[in-house]
């Protein structure tokens, strides 16, 4: 296994030439509850990956530092929101990773400049494109134990949100110490419709969001606001939407949401987007699925893995809360492109309906095929 090789040519490894092994670590690290990555790992790395989860994440019980990712175009109101977070007296200390320090008027040693260095891992798999600077900065910040309670990452309006999110799935050292809490997208009500016309990024930023702040609502009339609202909902139905002026929103609606805002998907009516009247062919939509019958993990896991392996490019985000037969705990799953994580989250409460829900946000989603696939994983009534 460990063997240096003399290589004549400096060539990129062909990702498809590599044997891909889908690994589910859950079964192996059963006693150490925590996120399970279900990702194409090379066989050589498989054993290894287990070990690191073991040691840093679970064996030491240090709680993971929650990370909020703040997305939005210049002028949408991100800086206003950041300044509020930094100046309000909430008793929490935030380390803030910004891309332009100058924009923030507050001097604070916990504000760090990022370089937005997007790194492709050399296996060439797009799901392993990460933000190298974030890995470095988060590791560096962690050396200052107790200096802060949570991390906020600001990204530019031109950035693709996927590498930021994927960093929290892919890098083991980051995963062992920090967890993605929520992606918050700030949208300028005045300009968003024009932005959606001329850029992919604007659409993806809305698609990736767990929480959307529709800001500057005072600068548009009621009719325009309704159009914006509908457009956002068409792209990302599941996100929590707050309409704001000057980003005035209770900070607890934005920060340290916990569990990636997963509970939200239980409140959503399924099939809210059954109408197939897409504006463009490549428009991003969301599909919500529901099953009252318990889901069989031995069918569900392979289905989801195959689905993301085949359509991971198009699936931007997915989330699910699942009831497995005879299990007292909710199983939650989330994903970005081809990366999946799943975990037993907590016991079902006595007053909770044990329904299973999945939400997919992406391009070229086929609601019918998704629904059929999901329903086929349910325990049949007979």
């Amino acid at each position: 296994m460990l063997r240096p090789e003399a290589l004549g040519e400096n060539v990129r490894h062909d990702p498809l030439g590599k044997s891909r092994v889908w690994v589910e670590l859950r079964q192996r690290v059963a006693e150490n509850a925590g996120w399970t990555r279900i990702c194409p790992l090379s066989a050589a790395n498989r054993e290894a990956k287990e070990v690191i989860y073991y040691i840093r994440g679970f064996m030491n019980s240090t709680p993971l530092i929650p990370v909020t990712v703040l997305i939005g175009y210049l002028g949408a109101g991100k800086t206003t929101l950041l300044n509020r977070i930094l100046s309000e007296n909430h008793g929490r200390k935030y380390a803030v990773i910004v891309n332009e320090f100058g924009e923030i008027g507050i001097d604070n040693e916990l504000i760090v400049d990022a370089d937005e260095e997007v790194f492709e891992m050399n296996n060439g798999c797009i799901c392993c494109t990460v933000r190298g600077d974030l890995i470095r900065i988060i590791e560096g910040l962690m050396k200052r134990k107790g200096a802060f309670d949570a991390i906020i990452i600001e990204t530019t309006g031109l950035a693709d949100p996927a590498p930021v999110a994927q960093t929290f799935f892919v890098d083991d050292d980051v995963r062992a110490r920090a967890s993605l809490d929520a992606i918050v997208t700030v949208v300028d009500a005045r300009h968003i419709l024009a932005r959606l016309e001329d850029s992919h990024e604007a659409e993806e930023q809305i698609a990736f969001a767990d929480v959307i702040l529709l800001n500057k609502t005072d600068l548009v009339d009621a009719q325009e606001l309704e159009r914006v609202r509908q457009r956002i909902r068409a792209i990302n139905g599941p996100a929590r939407l707050h309409e704001t002026q000057n980003c005035v929103v209770p900070l607890e609606e934005v920060l340290e949401r916990g569990a990636f805002d997963l509970d939200r998907i239980l409140e959503i009516e399924p099939n809210f987007l059954s109408e197939d009247d897409h504006e463009h062919d490549d428009a991003i939509t969301s599909v919500s699925l529901s099953s009252d019958a318990p889901i069989r993990p031995e069918l569900f896991m392979p289905w989801l893995r195959n689905l993301t392996a085949a359509q991971g490019q198009d699936i931007l985000r997915l989330k699910g809360v699942l009831a497995f037969p005879g299990e007292e705990q909710r199983y939650v799953v989330q994903g970005v492109h081809m990366l999946l994580e799943g975990d037993h989250q907590r016991d079902w409460r006595a007053d909770e309906v044990r329904a299973s829900r999945m939400v997919f946000i992406g391009r070229n989603l086929d609601p019918t095929a998704l629904r059929q696939g999901f329903e086929a994983c349910a325990v049949s009534a007979a």
């Binding site: 290894a48 990956k49 690191i52 040691i55 030491n60 560096g140």
Partner: protein, 343 residues
Amino acid sequence: MAELLERGGLVHRHGRHVKLDGEPTAILWLGTLAAAALGDGSVHWLNDEGGSLAHSVHAGAILTTCRHPDGMSVLTGGDDGRVCRVASDGEMTEIGRFERKWVEHLVASPASGLIVAGVAREAVAWSKCASEPTHRYAVSSTIGGLALDAKGKRLGIAHYNGATLVYGTNPDSGRVALNWVGSHIACTMSPDGRYLVTGLQETGLHGWQLPELRDMRMSGYATKTRSFSWDRKAKWLATAGDAQAILWPFEGKLGPIGKAPLLLAKREGTIVTRVAFHPRDDILAIGYSDGTVILARPADENTVLIDEGGAFITALAWNDAGTRLGWGDEDGRIGILDMEARV
């Protein structure tokens, strides 16, 4: 051995523990005086008599340290963008300041007097005795690691998609581009300057044999490799990043190419986080993620338990004479082993 195990290792008989408030990011030795650099920005000096002296140096964490070429002081780089020289008597001099940047790497050579800091996308150099930076080498992305050869002249700079090789003492010399896709996050150079080896974000090592630029690939590591150590004859390169220390043979014309590594002191369920070869003997000190520290002899694979029961080992170093071993874990526990006491 059983007795030692019960008592938690040799440190209890021939050494001591010191509890500090921050996470040690490095331990350095000046003779028998240890300097521990912490995540809270302070440097703690620990002497044989059990005395300790603390100096607050950086506003944030100390991210990197190395010994000053003068052998009388240490250099620290912090996330406040400063590079400082700190002497054991508390004298502190700022030799560089980089606003809004992190100083993440420092190397220095007593042979050439050169000091080099990795600051974002620049390797910033101080020529012998300079009190401020004298020259810089820009690379295409943020620096992942720096390494000097034994003469302190050849400088390897690891970064995204490879490494760059320059003469650190001569800013006008040519540079050699060593290309290999991926993010290179650490590096080391053999003392004779014949090999540059980097650790990769996606785990494993990449190496270049110089001057032929022959590529080598070492894979199979469980996690990223961030700690390297050459033995006194530069025959072995010990590396961290797996459940065991992995030692690559660098003897002969082809070095490790086509040879199997020596796998030393495997401990299931843990990761080797730091390795340090004894400077005068064929003994390797190994620190693990569960706080265990051992000494291992590559020749017969015998091991001696030094410490256990701590947390993730973040620092490990011998003094030059090989009479003291120091280590630190992420909870701030420092261990010091007195090798002279064993005799």
